[in-house]
Symmetry: C2
Subunit: 98 residues, 2 copies
């Protein structure tokens, strides 16, 4: 995907940040505590297995950060943005406003 294409898709996932020269997208969600951060991570991991698309995920007390790219092409694919939108829907159910 060209940088232009990535930027176009990015408009549809505006809360995600294009990083590493537009080869990854990343978003940090805020939660009330560790338990709620992990509840999101658990659902994100289940989604990752269901879609066979595995992000890097970091979490701790009150936050979780997801980093998406498509390993096979070492960059962004439309699927990364589709997954980003799905993660946003999951997180919307229990994350704090950012």
């Amino acid at each position: 995907m060209s940088r232009d294409d990535a930027e176009h898709l990015h408009e549809q996932a505006p809360d995600w940040e294009l990083v590493d020269g537009a080869t990854r997208i990343e978003r940090t969600y805020r939660f009330k505590n560790f338990r709620e951060a992990f509840a999101f991570v658990e659902r994100a991991a289940a989604l990752a297995e269901a879609e066979s698309h595995h992000p890097d995920i970091g979490f701790g007390w009150g936050s979780a950060t997801v980093s998406l790219r498509t390993k096979k092409i070492k960059g962004l694919h439309e699927n990364d943005f589709i997954m980003a939108a799905k993660l946003d829907r999951i997180a919307a159910e229990n994350s704090l406003p950012h």
Copy 2:
């Protein structure tokens, strides 16, 4: 805890790295795939809740990294090393040799 004390306790958790001027310890475990990395993370999160001691955890395909410190003192406490040992035991059940 002084840096000397941290270094002494560190001898008992030798696979952990002292980082950030000995204010944190960190270890990366290797796993076969995403599913096994997450299986470890799930148990680590349950331990964190049980002990009311919450690390930062990052994971992805084939690895998980745990970072421990005691937030209240912004540094290391003996409890961090106790938790490190417990995490090592949990991980030993399904991690790959490092």
